[in-house]
């Protein structure tokens, strides 16, 4: 019924379009670089939408590699328990971008573990409720907090169906250059935005997962690893009933 694919023709077209995209305007100056390794010097566009597929069958119970890697990448491991706070309070309130969630099917007894972070919704409730515009969705799909305009009201924390946001309760003593943070602002997973803007192709959690449970990439690029995986495996959006069109999807939940 369908014609066999002419691989040579495809390869030729791919090369030709690549060459056209990288038109030289002057010797050594290109309109579009093929791989962007230098810091971004043009605004992000909606030509890409970043997202993830998390294979929960590969997510091992008791493993916290992704959480530790996230903490390290984003300076969350530098935060210390406030003076006078109990361990219980600190456990409850300490900023974490990834939560380890365990689900149990009461009928069958099957237990699923998964990392739960900001789902980078297409229609984010946190952005809807933010009174100052600090909570926003970047053109490339990353939902972020502009801490310069965040007033710390925490409406977004209440609005988020995924419990993905943290609040910084106390002054922060040690601040990494790549992840500034201070008292009175909300924060959550930003898909390692500093890596995105400096030409990186992975996230810290993805790099840390030995099981390869996390696939990250551009949802709009049909050839990206995440799009290929989404096309191949059945996946769900958590709380799909809310119609938020999340950028983070899960298999076997």
């Amino acid at each position: 019924m369908s014609e066999p694919i002419d691989k040579q023709r495809r390869a030729f077209l791919a090369t030709a379009s690549g060459a056209a995209a990288a038109t030289a305007v002057a010797p050594g100056v290109f309109l579009h670089a093929v791989a962007q390794a230098a810091p971004r010097d043009s605004a992000v566009t909606d030509a890409v939408r970043y997202g993830m597929l998390i294979d929960t069958t590969k997510c091992a119970d008791g493993c916290s590699d992704c959480v530790s890697a996230c903490d390290k990448e984003n300076g969350l491991d530098m935060l210390v328990k406030p003076e006078g706070a109990s361990d219980a309070l600190w456990d409850m309130q300490r900023p974490r971008w990834i939560r380890q969630v365990k689900l149990k099917n009461n009928l069958t007894g099957r237990v699923t573990t998964l990392p739960m972070m900001c789902q980078h919704c297409e229609k984010p409730p946190c952005v809807d409720v933010c009174p100052t515009g600090a909570s926003f969705r970047r053109a490339d799909g990353i939902v972020m907090v502009d801490r310069h305009t965040c007033i710390g009201c925490r409406y977004c924390m209440m609005a988020c169906p995924y419990n993905a946001r943290s609040f910084i309760h106390e002054n922060v003593q040690l601040k990494p250059t790549a992840a500034p943070r201070g008292k009175g602002c909300v924060e959550s997973c930003n898909l390692c935005v500093q890596r995105r803007d400096n030409g990186g192709t992975t996230t810290a959690c993805q790099d840390a997962c030995k099981q390869g449970a996390i696939v990250f990439g551009d949802l709009k690029d049909a050839n990206s690893a995440v799009s290929q995986a989404l096309a191949k495996y059945p996946s769900v959006q958590i709380r799909a009933d809310l119609k938020l069109n999340t950028g983070v999807r899960y298999t076997d939940v």
């Binding site: 043009s42 992000v44 053109a139 502009d146 040690l174 250059t177 500034p180």
Partner: protein, 133 residues
């Protein structure tokens, strides 16, 4: 004699350790480290900042604020007017080569901001020393 030397050496080592620990704990906020040495900032070896000095004195915050918005919202990370760039270039070092916070009393940012009584809010969140990450 030999014993005396050993004890004093031990004392010196212990004091050194305590001083090191103090520095580590008071890394960003305490400003209690050794005083900065004149002329040790990268900026001290340059003629002008990213724009002529007179312009920078009046308009540096316009530049930082503009860069802040395009970085957060548009992902533009070129370092021309970035705060990290300011810190990297204007942080002085102590005699041991350790960076001194740019907002420590008398250092580059505080020098003027304290004099005019204009509060400086950048460093509630941003790193005050070049951290390399």
């Amino acid at each position: 004699m030999k014993g005396k030397i050993t004890i004093s050496m031990l004392l010196a080592v212990c004091l050194g350790l305590f001083a090191g620990l103090g520095n580590a704990l008071a890394d960003d906020h305490g400003f209690s480290g050794a005083p900065a040495v004149e002329g040790t900032a990268k900026a001290d070896k340059l003629d002008a900042c990213v724009a002529p000095t007179a312009f920078m004195r009046r308009n540096h915050f316009e530049l930082i604020k503009h860069q802040r918005d395009i970085t957060v919202h548009e992902g533009i990370r070129k370092t021309d007017n970035s705060l990290a760039g300011c810190v990297d270039c204007h942080a002085r070092h102590d005699a041991a080569g350790k960076a001194v916070a740019v907002n420590a009393p008398g250092e580059f940012c505080s020098g003027c901001h304290e004099y005019v009584g204009a509060s400086l809010d950048c460093f509630t969140c941003h790193a005050t020393k070049p951290t390399g990450n």
